[in-house]
């Protein structure tokens, strides 16, 4: 088992909001080997970002981890002090944020922000190292961008600055939260190829959070599907797309295909997903599931292992 880089078990996370505590992640498990790439796909608001940021304890004090373990390189991260955590952030694990406003300092020029990452981690730094990384992420006029502020760059340019920030310190694990959502297809290809290259050359493992099925297929080996604060399904990317097990996964793939096929009215799921305030002790997909049974409301379904795959649906539970 010494190939295991990260092992997360039974993670539950709450927020304290308006005088009460609300659980938003109710079951997050993930295991990642060295240099493996895993994708996370799921409903907006299902807990992808909250689960992933908890690996680095990036949230404020309103967040609490109710249960679970996060073992990274043999150490339970949840037991570390803030000081010990700081050595891991950026050095061994880095995080590419979903929006620029949480990751880039509006008052500092791009070049300085990237140089600081290197300096903070006591790595060699020079303007040329920074310019090289900027060129790698497809910033053509790297020299000009080096001296610009985030507000002077376009959405997609800022997104790539954040990618540069994430890879510049060559971490063991990169968590990339929708890193390609604001860039066009040809740049997306450049960025995904770059992540692949670093993964192979520098043995960097990647957690890739995305809504983009094509990007997930292109980059990832394994995939996790989330809904309602729970991991619903896990398995090899190709197997999941060829034969989704969970009814939610199946519906999601149908939605994605509908747009690609050019349907006049895009196929969508009826209704909305439950918000954390509406969570009950039942399958969260129950109200939208076409295959639901009375038993679906008898508690949260357990994760069932079927060979190389896992699924959280009573259809597969052996009784």
């Amino acid at each position: 088992m010494d190939n295991r880089l990260l092992e997360i078990n039974n993670l539950k996370i709450s927020f304290y909001h308006q005088h009460r505590s609300i659980q938003v992640v109710r079951g997050f498990d993930l295991s990642l080997n060295n240099r493996e790439i895993v994708g996370i796909i799921g409903e907006s608001g299902s807990g992808k970002t909250v689960s992933a940021t908890s690996i680095l304890k990036l949230e404020d004090e309103t967040q609490s981890i109710d249960s679970g373990t996060i073992i990274f390189n043999g150490i339970n991260l949840l037991e570390l002090s803030e000081k010990e955590y700081q050595k891991i952030r950026g050095n061994q694990i880095s995080y590419i944020f979903q929006n620029a406003s949480s990751a880039l300092n509006p008052y500092k020029k791009i070049g300085l922000q990237l140089t600081e990452v290197l300096r903070n981690h006591k790595l060699p730094f020079s303007k040329n190292i920074v310019l090289d990384v900027l060129k790698e992420v497809g910033i053509e006029e790297a020299d000009t961008s080096y001296d610009m502020y985030p507000f002077q760059l376009s959405g997609g340019q800022n997104q790539r600055i954040m990618i540069a920030q994430g890879i510049i310190s060559k971490p063991d694990l990169l968590i990339a939260d929708e890193p390609t959502s604001s860039i066009d297809a040809s740049l997306k290809r450049t960025v995904l190829d770059l992540l692949k290259k670093i993964n192979q050359k520098s043995h960097m493992a990647i957690i890739f959070i995305t809504h983009d099925f094509e990007a997930a297929k292109y980059l990832c080996e394994k995939l996790i599907i989330m809904y309602g604060g729970l991991v619903m399904e896990e398995g090899e990317v190709n197997e999941i797309f060829a034969k989704p097990l969970h009814p939610y996964t199946e519906e999601l793939i149908k939605c994605a295909n509908s747009l690609t096929q050019g349907d006049l009215n895009v196929y969508t799921l009826e209704g909305t997903a439950p918000t954390p305030l509406q969570f009950k002790e039942e399958c969260p997909f129950i109200s939208r599931c076409k295959m639901k049974l009375p038993e679906c409301s008898f508690g949260i379904p357990k994760m069932t292992t079927l060979g190389t795959r896992k699924v959280r649906c009573i259809k597969y539970e052996t009784r």
Partner: protein, 259 residues
């Protein structure tokens, strides 16, 4: 012939940046002499490389930025140099929907307050009709009245994106600029929002300028496409034609890069 909703001539925006007080100025030609027109009820897609000037065009059209040169006509009226004051009657007619992020909606305002705000500022309806109008807007974007007391942080990304749409249609806008309205949403909600935008377009006879890097989305939404490259429109034409027979090298690269 339908009326021309928006006509843009020779529109440019140059940004001047200076590294420090002593260095030479550098001019960034974000938008360079572009021309296009959009008919009432039409949807024009705007695609192009990251940094090609799409968002700058959007900001120019809704007058969040002053152009360096050129003219913008809204239903025939030259609005290019209107002051804040004289622009007011036209500001209702043209609205923008950005990609939802936490910075887009004031976290201290409830959904009710967020929807009342544009109605009050633009005096769309009389004071005693505002509550009904808020309910009507919520219904139009497929949200229930029970969401009114909530704060943006208590809604999902897709629901907040609907609030942005409701705020844009609140002023009875005729022209709506959408800058990546679905790129941060999961595919199921993405479909819901696209269907919603299509339905609103028909019901309210809206004109869209639709910015997206997802060619499937643009294909679905737009009659015509304009392709931007380094600040210029390098190609413009019917969607099918541009995508099936791209003339410019960059457009070809963009289409073939599809994963």
């Amino acid at each position: 012939m339908p009326e021309i909703a928006l006509k843009v001539e020779n529109l440019s925006k140059h940004f001047i940046i200076r590294n420090n007080a002593f260095s030479k100025k550098k001019i960034i030609k974000a938008v360079e002499k572009i021309n296009f027109e959009v008919a009432t009820g039409e949807s024009l897609g705007l695609i192009g490389e990251s940094g090609s000037g799409k968002t700058t065009v959007a900001n120019l059209l809704v007058k969040l930025l002053e152009p360096s040169e050129g003219t913008i006509r809204l239903f025939g009226k030259d609005i290019t140099h209107l002051s804040e004051e004289s622009m007011r009657p036209y500001r209702c007619d043209i609205q923008i929907i950005f990609q939802y992020s936490q910075a887009m909606l004031d976290p201290k305002m409830t959904i009710n307050e967020l929807l009342r705000e544009p109605l009050e500022i633009h005096q769309v309806v009389s004071q005693h009709q505002i509550d009904d109008e808020v309910n009507r807007l919520l219904k139009m974007v497929g949200l229930s009245e029970t969401e009114k007391a909530k704060f943006p942080s208590q809604l999902s990304g897709g629901q907040n994106q609907r609030i942005l749409i409701a705020r844009a249609i609140a002023t009875r806008a005729k022209v709506i600029i959408c800058d990546e309205p679905v790129s941060s949403l999961d595919v199921s909600i993405q479909g819901q929002i696209l269907n919603l935008l299509m339905r609103l377009k028909q019901e309210l006879d809206l004109t869209y300028i639709f910015i997206s890097h997802d060619l499937n989305v643009v294909k679905h939404m737009c009659h015509r496409i304009a392709v931007m490259y380094q600040g210029e429109i390098i190609e413009i034409g019917p969607t099918e034609k541009v995508l099936s027979n791209p003339q410019h090298q960059y457009t070809q690269k963009l289409i073939h890069a599809l994963l």
